[in-house]
Symmetry: C2
Subunit: 302 residues, 2 copies
């Protein structure tokens, strides 16, 4: 079997014709769900795998968009002959609600005002994201998924599926996820949010078409990227290596490779992600707690 | 033996009459070193212990300033009958250069311009801090310290003393410190610095007498405080307990106790610490590397 590419794909959009009622009690009217599919649905519609993305991901998980040189974010795993074999499975990935890659989120137009929701977007949860995915799966006329797969926040969604819709799925593949967000995770997320809302360009969330809160969003991403690497892997990847110099500069230019790495991660992120989506999605992560009992979550190191 | 207080103390100032040449090659002319002492120097001047403070510390390590209700930052350890027994030892603590509590730092007046140094303060190192302490010890006519004691950045200074002035000390007590800053430490420090310089009120370091870069400094302190607690201790201290509410708010008000804790730490810090000192002192920490060899530092988890 040759491991191949899922080929040229296009993002599709499902405009849900009615309300999506949220955990908060609020609702989104006629939300849009951006999604992509790879492979073919079989006759009894039993070979569908839903892939759930992490904080900064999107629906474009594999293959290529026309004219793009870079494949989807998990192309190494999805395609003909790959781990999620599109010769056998029908793979679906959708952008989470609250996101900024085609599904309804803070940068979408609020039908009530004709302007972007901004900070007036309702607070969403992992459960809400999963409920949106369930509507999409229904639209695709699939009554039971073969599997739900995801890492990090995607893993939280996969876990949530097992609790919310156990009959609508067979298997869950949960990678690098947790049954509840720990206080340390909440702390790092709050630093990121505080960085964004402290940026004067955030302007209470009303920055669309104006200067973006890029300083704040870059800082949030820098903090995130520290948590994505272990202490050990940072030693291996960077050590105390200097960036483009033979000795420390005795000034505030970039001295160390690790600093340069973080600056790069922060800067590039601001070009592809919406700061308000960062606020709402991290809040959804903080709220995630399948134990539904604060006392259970206390004192259990993860 | 009764464990008592070091009593009422005053910060003293030593105005060094000549240059302090720095590792960078630059120098500080006639720097001031703020210090405090507790207990009595014995006849052969052999019972002196130097205590070195951490990032945000100062010279006021024990006893009380007149009219103050709060004792020095390590009063539990220093005093009559305490671990560093002032009935037996003469304890000295001085504010590091680059600091903002009496020793020459970025908020001090630059004799060349008559204005605060601000960002034009020279970049300093842990070695420079120790060299300043050595001058102070010389001024006090002490040729050999009984011990040098410190935690965190104070421990770095104690280690540096063992390398720079092994004959001028007998013992080192090194607490929660490292022989070199790891890339993860550098990464967290760089996030803090970036938060400060991204604050429009930082104004290239020229903010004295104007609005202070409090948002940036508070963010830096929030990041710092996450690193001062382990994942396990955050579970014990906060868990997922809510702050002043029975259920999550579904908004961006403070939900969790851990968030409230970080906000408080950030806010109070801005009232007592100078943002430029934070920049310079964290840079000194980043530069600290007793191995003096980047390759040695690579791949060694700490």
């Amino acid at each position: 079997m040759i491991q191949g590419s899922a080929g040229i794909v296009k993002t599709q959009y499902y405009h849900h014709p009615s309300l999506l009622v949220l955990e908060s009690g609020e609702s989104l009217s006629s939300p849009t769900f951006a999604f992509e599919t790879y492979g073919k649905l079989n006759h009894d519609r039993s070979n569908a795998i839903l892939v759930c993305h992490a904080l900064s991901g999107d629906a474009h998980v594999a293959g290529f968009h026309e004219c793009d040189e870079k494949p989807g974010w998990w192309d190494t795993v999805i395609g003909p002959g790959k781990a999620l074999d599109t010769d056998r499975y029908f793979v679906i990935c959708s952008n989470v609600i609250g996101g900024c890659k085609g599904s309804t989120g803070p940068s979408s137009t609020n039908p009530e005002t004709g302007k972007p929701y901004g900070a007036k977007f309702p607070v969403i949860t992992i459960q809400d994201m999963v409920n949106a995915q369930k509507l999409l799966i229904g639209h695709l006329d699939i009554s039971q998924l073969y599997a739900v797969v995801g890492g990090s926040m995607g893993g939280m969604q996969a876990l949530q599926w097992t609790v919310s819709y156990p009959d609508a799925m067979k298997k869950a593949v949960v990678i690098a996820a947790t049954g509840y967000s720990t206080p340390q995770q909440i702390a790092f997320n709050e630093v990121g949010r505080k960085a964004i809302i402290s940026d004067p360009d955030w302007n209470n969330g009303n920055y669309y078409g104006k200067a973006l809160p890029s300083h704040g969003l870059a800082l949030a991403r820098m903090v995130g990227h520290i948590t994505y690497l272990s202490n050990e892997s940072m030693h291996e990847k960077f050590g105390r290596a200097l960036q483009g110099k033979d000795r420390i500069g005795f000034d505030f230019s970039t001295d160390f490779k690790v600093e340069s790495y973080l600056h790069h991660q922060g800067d590039t992120f601001t070009k592809r992600f919406d700061a308000n989506s960062y606020l709402f999605i991290t809040k959804a992560i903080d709220y995630f707690d399948l134990t539904r009992d604060g006392s259970l979550a206390t004192g259990l190191p993860v």
